[in-house]
Subunit: 191 residues, 2 copies
C-alpha cells in the first residue's frame, strides 16, 4: 500500500478514536474527523464510503489484534498449565496493556458499539475452543452466551472503574463465578 494511503488512513483512525473518547458516535461529524485528521474532504470519502464503514474498519483493526493474539496456541479456556494462562486472562492483559485505545473506547459514550463487536469476536473464539462441558441439563447455547456475556460485562465494569484490579485477580474472580456453574473445577489454573 502506498505510504500516503497508510498515513492518511492512520490519521483518520487516530482522529476518529480520539473523538470517540469525548463524544458519542452519533454526534461526530465527518467535518470534525477531517479537521482533526487534517485531510481533505474528498480524501476521506476516497477511503471510507461512510462514517459507519470507518467505524466497522476501526473495530476490525482493534479487536482483530486483541483476539488473534489471545487465540494463538492456547490450550483451553481454563488451562491448568500456565498460571495466568487462560484465554480470558490473556484477553484482560491485552486490554490493560492497551495495544491501542480499546479500553478507553470501551468506556466511552459509544461503548455499546464496541461491546457488540467484542461480544461477537469473543463468542467466535469461545465456540472454537470450547471444552467438553458437563453443565448438567443446561443447553450449550445458553452456557456459551452466559460465558461470553458475563465476560464482556465484567470487562466493561473493569474498564469503567479504571482497571484497578490486575488481570490475574479479575480472571480469578471470573473463574470463581462461572466455573462452578459450568461443571469445571475452580481454582486450578492459579498459582
Amino acid at each position: 500500500m502506498d505510504r500516503r494511503q497508510r498515513r492518511t488512513r492512520a490519521a483518520i483512525f487516530s482522529a476518529f478514536s480520539s473523538l470517540l473518547e469525548r463524544q458519542s458516535y452519533g454526534s461526530i461529524t465527518v467535518q470534525q474527523i477531517i479537521d482533526r485528521a487534517d485531510v481533505g474532504r474528498s480524501t476521506f470519502y476516497a477511503h471510507f464510503g461512510t462514517k459507519e464503514d470507518l467505524l466497522r474498519e476501526l473495530c476490525g483493526e482493534l479487536f482483530g489484534h486483541v483476539m488473534s493474539s489471545a487465540a494463538g496456541g492456547e490450550p483451553g479456556l481454563y488451562s491448568r498449565e500456565a498460571a495466568p494462562g487462560s484465554v480470558f486472562c490473556h484477553l484482560l492483559q491485552h486490554l490493560k496493556n492497551g495495544d491501542g485505545c480499546v479500553a478507553r473506547l470501551l468506556c466511552s459514550e459509544s461503548s455499546g458499539i464496541f461491546l457488540s463487536y467484542f461480544r461477537d469476536q469473543l463468542e467466535r473464539l469461545v465456540r472454537g475452543s470450547f471444552p467438553p462441558l458437563s453443565g448438567g441439563e443446561l443447553p450449550e447455547g445458553f452456557l456459551i452466551n452466559h460465558l461470553c456475556g458475563s465476560f464482556v460485562e465484567m470487562a466493561l465494569w473493569w474498564a469503567k472503574r479504571g482497571m484497578p484490579e490486575s488481570p490475574e485477580q479479575l480472571s480469578r474472580y471470573f473463574e470463581a463465578v462461572t466455573a462452578p456453574a459450568l461443571g469445571w473445577q475452580a481454582g486450578q489454573g492459579q498459582s
Copy 2:
C-alpha cells in the same frame, strides 16, 4: 393533560417504536416519525426537544412499567415462597407477556440503547433488595455487576431467539448458573 396532547404523544411513541423495529435508531429521521405518526413538524418539536429526548422518554415509559411492577412487594431475589416468584422470573414474565413492544425493541438493531436502560433500572432494583451474600472473598460490586450483566445478556439471548423457553424455565437456568457462585442455595424456589 389535554386529550390532544395524550393522543399525539401516543401516536409519536407508537410511530417511533414501530420504526425502531425495522431500522437503526441513528437512521431514523424526524420526518419519518411525523409522517408515520401523522402529526405536524412543529407539533413534534413542541413535545420533544430532540430525537434523543423522545428516546429517553420512551425508555422511561417502557422500563418504568416493567420494573415497578416487578419490584412491587417482592420478598427477595430468590424467594422460596412462591414457586416462580423470584424477581427475575417476574421480569421475564413481563417481558414475554409484552406489556408493550419491549421484547421486539430488545432485539432490534438499536438494542444497545435499550439494553443500557434495562441494565441501569435492573441494577437499581437489585441494589435495593440485595440479600445478605456469602460469596466468599468476591467484592459486592463485582457480584452485583455479574448478576445484572448476566441477566440482561440472557434476556437478550432469549428475545433474539423468539423467547422459546418459558419464563419459569429460563429463570431456572439463570438460578442454576448464578446461585452457586453467589453462595445461595439453588433449586429451592422451584416447584
